[in-house]
């Protein structure tokens, strides 16, 4: 875990990681008692579980990573009413990009999944949107510059 970076989590993200932590600890305890099956009986099981079934080192390093996260995270909370008009962590932003509309929720790196519309606050677009208001045009610089026009900001935390 890169501790130089802040760890931001939404309430939902935190709940999932806490659940995963409890499940993996239980799995580790089973494995060390040597009464757990060494391989899963079926592949129809929870996919995240599968990754740690046979690899105790991997299981331990994931547990250690989760412990670091759960000790150091900062919860993303909705901003005060006055600050609702600008983009901060946790905001869902409707933007217009070259005549097309899209919607992003700004989250911490661990929860980012751009295909699901969750973009990291540390990505160039995430960074550029933070602090901006509805109606503003945000230019993300690169050899090919892109303009994101903010149409709506909401908080669904």
């Amino acid at each position: 875990m890169d501790l130089e970076r802040e760890i931001y989590l939404t309430k939902e993200g935190l709940r999932k990681l806490e659940q995963e932590y409890e499940e993996l600890k239980a799995l580790k305890s089973q494995r060390t008692k040597e009464n757990a099956p060494t391989t899963a009986a079926s592949l129809e099981i929870d996919s995240e579980y599968l990754a740690f079934q046979d690899d105790l080192n991997l299981l331990e390093s994931r547990i250690a990573e989760l412990e670091t996260i759960l000790k150091n995270y900062q919860l993303i909370a909705a901003p005060s009413k006055g600050a609702h008009k600008e983009v901060s962590l946790g905001a869902t932003v409707v933007v217009e990009i070259e005549g097309q509309e899209d919607e992003f929720t700004i989250v911490g790196s661990l929860e980012a999944n751009p295909m699901l519309g969750r973009i990291s606050n540390e990505s160039p677009v995430g960074k550029a949107l933070l602090g901006r208001k509805t109606g503003e045009e945000v230019k993300v610089q690169s050899a090919v510059a892109t303009v994101y026009k903010i149409k709506k900001i909401t908080y669904q935390l």
Binding site: F52, E98, L116
Partner: protein
């Protein structure tokens, strides 16, 4: 960063270099060096893993993978060598003329008659040339990764250790397997000569065992696979071999001539992930494995793209569509994503279903790690995958400035957040801006020249 960029661009040559042997045989759309390296690395890894499982001892999988990944690096500058080189017409192009083809066909009918002394002398000369070239290629890389590469190379080039012998022979076995696949498909390969060559040169006992298995099914036409691990491995490698000819959809949609295959992409991405991961201080043994398996599901699931939910049959509409990043309504995008995931999950399970269970689970776990970001290595490789796409898009754009590159830039700024990779993106940005300025100047010059006669 610029030395890394230069190194990664050079790697690209192995994706376009068609393997000399297959070109000489006149194989249609032959595998490139990178295709061979990709499957060779998987073969070495899986074969070693099965051997370890049987004997309860064996080599480090990742070190075998890494050795195979670098074994053709000198070819970037000096090209491939075949035992026939001194007998061939000079200056053979990648596409051979009909007249040369007839001459070559005669030459390839028998192994060159060379004395043992001369053969040894040539092998030493080649080894020395490869040694010198390898050091030239890695000379400017950051020290930490340069040292890793040089250590591996010094073991591999002189085959000083049992591990390096195993890796080298695994790579040769991949070529042999490919020769038999071409022979069965197109009949142009002198498979008996290949068979003689491997019998003489491959000496590792488990490699020989697998070679015999290959012969049994591909030469002697043995049909039934008796639930034997090596027979199932052969079937698995045959299927994985499909990725050598599966062209990546993103480039096909953008009408790239001769686009890279999934295997070639994986080769380049694995080395890039390894090198960048080393600089970042990550577990590169895990990284190379994740990168190697990340697209294996495409054997059955195909190469799906974010444009899929909005694709139409009209080619002209598609041409316009891919000029911009796809902006699909959220609900539609999520539905497509879940279907894609399900299809890929089934594909990776099916592809690995007859491998030893421990290996199947390892491969699926690594694949999931890349998909779900379960470890820092998985999250890193997943972002390198996106960076490699932009990197390749720039290479295509350099060849043809009409290539629609915009969407790749947009994607990268939305999807990558790793500080090291963003630094690398900035380097790409600079290089692209320079190339863009040069290209615009040239366009203006050409436009000026075209106008001048009229103006006169």
């Amino acid at each position: 960063m610029s030395s890394l960029l230069d190194f990664f661009i050079k790697l690209g040559k192995l994706k376009t270099n068609k393997r000399k042997g297959w070109v000489l045989y006149g194989i249609k759309d032959p595998a490139a060096t990178a295709d061979h390296i990709f499957r060779g690395a998987i073969l070495g890894w899986v074969l070693n893993s099965i051997n370890k499982n049987n004997k309860k001892k064996g080599f480090n999988d990742a070190r075998i993978i890494k050795s195979i990944l670098i074994h053709h690096l000198p070819d970037i500058y000096i090209g491939e060598e075949t035992p026939y080189d001194s007998l061939l017409p000079k200056d053979i192009a990648s596409e051979i003329s009909k007249k040369d083809q007839d001459i070559i066909r005669e030459i390839l009918k028998k192994l060159p008659q060379v004395s043992a002394g001369l053969e040894r002398k040539r092998a030493i000369q080649r080894q020395q040339l490869e040694e010198k070239t390898f050091h030239r290629i890695v000379a400017k890389l950051p020290n930490e990764i340069k040292k890793d590469l040089e250590d591996l190379w010094s073991e591999l080039n002189k085959r000083r250790t049992n591990l390096s012998k195993f890796a080298w022979e695994s790579a040769k076995l991949e070529s042999y397997l490919q020769s038999l696949e071409y022979w069965r498909k197109e009949g142009k390969v002198q498979h008996k000569l290949w068979n003689r060559w491997v019998k003489k040169n491959l000496k590792e006992s488990f490699i020989i065992k697998f070679r015999k298995e290959i012969d049994k099914y591909l030469i002697n036409n043995h049909k039934k696979c008796e639930k034997d691990a090596l027979c199932e491995l052969l079937r698995f490698l045959n299927e994985v071999g499909r990725l050598k000819s599966l062209k990546r959809t993103g480039w096909v949609l953008r009408r790239v001539k001769k686009p890279e295959s999934v295997a070639q992409h994986t080769f380049q991405m694995t080395i890039m992930s390894w090198v960048l991961g080393k600089i970042k201080g990550l577990d590169t043994d895990r990284i190379v494995k994740i990168a190697l398996v990340h697209d294996l599901c495409e054997v059955y699931a195909g190469d799906q793209t974010p444009y899929d939910p909005i694709l139409v049959a009209d080619k002209e509409v598609v041409r316009k569509l891919v000029e911009k990043a796809p902006r699909v309504p959220k609900a539609q995008r999520i539905e497509w994503l879940f279907k894609k995931r399900e299809k890929e999950w089934k594909a990776i399970v099916e592809l690995t279903s007859n491998l030893p269970k421990i290996l199947q689970k390892e491969m699926i776990s690594l694949w999931l790690d890349c998909e779900e970001g379960l470890t820092k290595e998985g999250r890193f490789v997943s972002q390198v995958d996106k960076l490699v796409n932009l990197f390749q898009a720039i290479e295509y754009w350099k060849k043809d400035n009409n290539f629609p590159i915009e969407s790749w830039w947009v994607f990268i700024k939305e999807r990558v957040d790793d500080p090291l990779l963003l630094k690398f993106t900035d380097e790409l940005d600079k290089e692209f801006a320079i190339a863009n300025r040069i290209s615009s100047k040239n366009k203006n010059k050409r436009a000026g020249k075209a106008k001048s006669p009229k103006e006169k």
